[in-house]
């Protein structure tokens, strides 16, 4: 039974993943990240990155336009709340669907090209979506302010089945379970685990191997009797659905959808998450998402007084020096740290964070014996000539 469910080799990984996700509030607390909003973001961007990895990690097609599907998912979810019900089930279903539909539309056109031409096509579509959503599509998107719930929303289904308050805004729920706070996180966590499982199945399936073949040698694939276009399109649509779902969940935990979610920087962020964690690996994208969101939310919040108390064990002059130096890298300097981290990771760990973990694991297994340097390190040392 279990054997059918998860491959024996993947079972420890899968169980470990479940354990870490469910225990995240406890694990993350000492790191200052054990509060619901950030945990929700970890899960949601984890889903986004997992989906992106199915496209990029497996087929090698680098899309810069996945922000568009995230945004579409969010708008769909908020409109579902406004028109139908604040129960999240229809919203999640519809946002996934819409993400997939938009991906189908954009994918059919963009996948006619490959390489950087494909990347620019997806980027162009996302930027068009963003610019229009910000300005002329304001009646649908509420522009800069973002789409929010209002007291005048029709909410047809809710009005049929439950008492609707006329003075305070409703909050989203899953059959009565509130979608804010830790219950919201656990909802996202369960969805994340399901998505991780789907991704695991895809990775291990014949379809997954076909996608890897696309990345490896598209020409050989077509001379082998396989039509590459539907494979890439399917991967594109699946990852678009993941993005739509992530966008929907963003609206579920915080019912607001803004145009900036479609901007290329957001699409670029998921690219960075995936590469940072390790493209083509199962867990890497989630790890990358957690890292970047952690920097964005926690490093940016460290200010001088926090640093001072952190360094308070030192003698005063040293404390001041350390605070001054560290101050450059946190608070308003958090971008600097992130940028430097990108450079360091990609230079020393070409396989992303997952490679780092792999090396540490090897080190332990060998009992600290650092015999031969691994092959990826050699890859880096390969000179340009």
């Amino acid at each position: 039974m279990l054997k059918n469910f998860v491959n024996k080799r993947d079972l420890p990984v899968f169980l470990g993943f479940i354990a870490i996700v469910l225990l995240a509030p406890i694990i993350m607390a000492p790191l200052g990240a054990g509060y619901p909003d950030l945990l929700q973001k970890f899960a949601i961007f984890g889903i986004f990155a997992i989906g992106f990895n199915i496209l990029f990690g497996l087929t090698g097609y680098l899309s810069f336009g996945h922000a568009a599907f995230l945004g579409v998912g969010s708008y769909t979810a908020v409109w579902t709340f406004k028109l139908l019900t604040v129960n999240v089930v229809p919203a999640i279903f519809l946002s996934t669907l819409m993400g997939g539909l938009f991906a189908l539309l954009i994918g059919v056109i963009s996948l006619r090209r490959s390489g950087i031409y494909f990347s620019i096509l997806t980027l162009a579509f996302a930027q068009m979506a963003y610019n229009l959503a910000y300005s002329v599509l304001t009646p649908i998107t509420n522009g800069e302010t973002g789409l929010q719930l209002t007291l005048n929303d029709s909410r047809v289904i809710d009005n049929m089945f439950r008492e609707v308050s006329k003075t305070s805004l409703p909050s989203t729920d899953f059959f009565g379970l509130s979608m804010s706070g830790f219950s919201g996180f656990y909802f996202c966590a369960v969805v994340l685990i399901i998505c991780f499982y789907i991704s695991l199945r895809i990775f291990r399936s014949p379809f997954g191997v076909m996608l890897k073949a696309v990345k490896s040698n598209q020409e050989r694939m077509s001379y082998t009797g396989l039509n590459t276009r539907p494979y890439t399109l399917a991967a594109f649509v699946i990852s678009g659905m993941f993005a739509g779902l992530a966008g929907g969940l963003m609206a579920v935990t915080d019912p607001l959808a803004g145009a900036e979610r479609m901007q290329w920087t957001v699409g670029g962020e998921v690219v960075l998450m995936t590469i940072l964690g390790g493209a083509g690996t199962l867990i890497g994208p989630v790890l990358g998402a957690v890292t970047i969101k952690y920097f964005e939310n926690i490093f940016s919040s460290l200010n001088d007084s926090i640093l001072n108390s952190f360094f308070s064990f030192m003698p005063e002059p040293m404390q001041h020096v350390f605070t001054a130096v560290a101050g450059l890298f946190v608070g308003e300097g958090w971008h600097l740290t992130l940028g430097a981290l990108f450079v360091v990771i990609v230079v020393f760990l070409p396989g992303g964070l997952m490679e780092g973990i792999g090396r540490i694991g090897k080190l332990f297994r060998r009992g600290g014996d650092d015999g031969d340097k691994k092959e990826p390190a050699a890859k880096f040392a390969t000179p340009a000539e």
């Binding site: 200052g32 054990g34 509060y35 619901p36 909003d37 950030l38 973001k41 610019n131 910000y134 300005s135 002329v136 304001t138 522009g143 800069e144 302010t145 973002g146 929010q148 007291l151 003075t167 305070s168 805004l169 909050s171 804010s180 706070g181 963003m250 915080d254 607001l256 803004g258 900036e260 979610r261 964005e296 939310n297 940016s300 919040s301 200010n303 001088d304 007084s305 001072n308 108390s309 001041h320 605070t323 001054a324 101050g327 608070g331 308003e332 958090w334 971008h335």
Partner: protein, 447 residues
């Protein structure tokens, strides 16, 4: 670098003092308000959340806001020279924190993006236990964070936000705005424009294509048309267009003799600089000298346009050259602390923090519903803009509005604007109904 070290030292002073926890007896709680609300403070300190842009185009403005917040915290905690605590009347603060609790603060980066700003505010509420969120440099962010604070049951004191929507269409019971808005800019500017440029003018608008731009365009159009001006055209420009030449050239031969730039920040700097380069200000159209108007000025941003701002009219919420006791006290403490004068954003943030603290003190509780009640309709003076009121109907602050002009002969790099008129509050008041919206009920959240 020098700036940085001064900065650091003062922060150190502040934080070591804050570290010494004062154990004060808890004050009585107003019976009307339960002690059961979001982040009800239990210890000897109370946390405020300062949510400002630290990266992106408005990072410098955010930095100035943060400086003002730190100064306000010092003054509320009874350190430094007290600043406006000595000039605002009436005021219940005693210089021992709020309700006997020391004020501590947490900071975050809005990135001038709604999502990032909400994430940052949520962290402050969920993790750091912030009771009040304040700051920001754009209306989109203000509306987004205000909505969040309403849902979470904390108070939101908007930072720099000029859109009519913040206290209009999107107003919320838990949110207040000290800053003025686009309507008030129009109402204050129109008489001055009429006096300087006459009744018979043809205006051409370039408007940033998003909600704030639209509300300002509408407000300025209404008030200039009321003084007899004709609107030739109103063209929307993409946010962050950079090069505005393709929007400026059609102005040249459009028959317009006034160009109104409904832009803020970088857009304003670029469109103004480029409009001047295109020789618009040297033109004579319809027998009149062509002029440019920038309805919303910010000194900090105007620096980026250099000498192009000379002689150009606009409005601003507050300016450091004002000579009333409150402004002087604030400029003095800020200047001594940091070595340069505060911006209007800094002023707004400083005053709001004090007004929030005072409201808690007067209400005798941190319960947001109590704070809302004591801020609604609250009248005070001595905060820099004369008699001031937080109107109960829409939580918009009403006070005198400044009409300014780019200084022809600046004496320092901070002396970019000169105040040409202090428009009395009565001239900029309006019926709260015109912008719609619904405050809803106050939300104290849950414990």
């Amino acid at each position: 670098m020098k700036k940085l070290s001064v900065n650091r030292r003062t922060v150190l002073k502040g934080s070591t003092a804050a570290g010494v926890a004062l154990s004060m007896p808890t004050f009585f709680h107003s019976k009307a308000y339960a002690a059961n609300f979001t982040n009800a403070p239990t210890g000897s300190s109370v946390t405020l959340g300062f949510n400002v842009p630290q990266t992106g185009a408005y990072a410098d403005e955010g930095g100035d806001e943060l400086r003002a917040y730190k100064l306000a915290v010092k003054h509320i905690n009874g350190e430094g020279d007290g600043g406006m605590l000595n000039t605002i009347k009436p005021l219940s603060l005693k210089g021992n924190g709020i309700l006997g609790k020391k004020v501590a603060y947490v900071t975050g980066d809005t990135q001038t993006k709604s999502d990032a700003a909400r994430a940052s505010a949520k962290r402050m509420i969920e993790k750091d236990g912030a009771l009040m969120i304040t700051g920001g440099s754009s209306s989109g962010v203000a509306v987004a964070v205000q909505g969040l604070c309403q849902e979470a049951g904390v108070i939101f004191m908007a930072g720099l936000t000029h859109s009519n929507d913040t206290t209009g269409k999107d107003k919320k019971r838990n949110g207040f705005r000290h800053f003025f808005n686009a309507y008030m800019s129009g109402a204050a500017l129109a008489p001055v424009l009429e006096k300087s440029y006459g009744k018979d003018r043809n205006a051409y608008h370039l408007t940033a294509d998003y909600t704030w731009g639209w509300t300002q365009e509408e407000s300025i159009k209404n008030s200039t048309e009321a003084i007899g001006w004709n609107t030739v055209n109103a063209v929307r420009t993409p946010l962050g267009a950079g090069d505005f030449s393709q929007y400026i050239t059609p102005v040249l031969n459009s028959g317009a003799d006034v160009l109104i730039l409904n832009h803020y920040g970088k857009d304003m700097i670029n469109s103004l600089t480029q409009a001047v380069q295109f020789g618009l200000r040297d033109k004579v159209v319809n027998g009149k000298d062509f002029t440019i108007v920038v309805p919303l000025y910010s000194r900090l941003m105007a620096q980026g346009a250099g000498k192009n701002v000379k002689g150009i009219y606009g409005s601003t919420n507050w300016h450091w050259s004002l000579q009333d006791a409150g402004s002087k006290a604030f400029v003095k403490s800020f200047g001594q602390e940091y070595g340069f004068p505060p911006s209007q954003a800094a002023h707004t943030c400083y005053v709001q923090t004090i007004m929030y603290a005072d409201a808690c003190e007067r209400a005798g509780t941190f319960n947001p519903c109590g704070v809302v009640e004591s801020l609604e309709g609250h009248k005070f003076d001595g905060a820099g803009n004369g008699a001031t009121e937080y109107r109960a109907d829409d939580h918009q602050c009403f006070k005198d509005v400044l009409v300014v002009k780019g200084n022809e002969n600046p004496t320092s790099q901070f002396d970019i604007l000169e105040v040409v008129e202090v428009t009395p509050r009565s001239q900029v008041e309006y019926d709260p109904k015109i912008f719609g919206g619904n405050l809803g009920a106050c939300n104290a959240g849950k414990a």
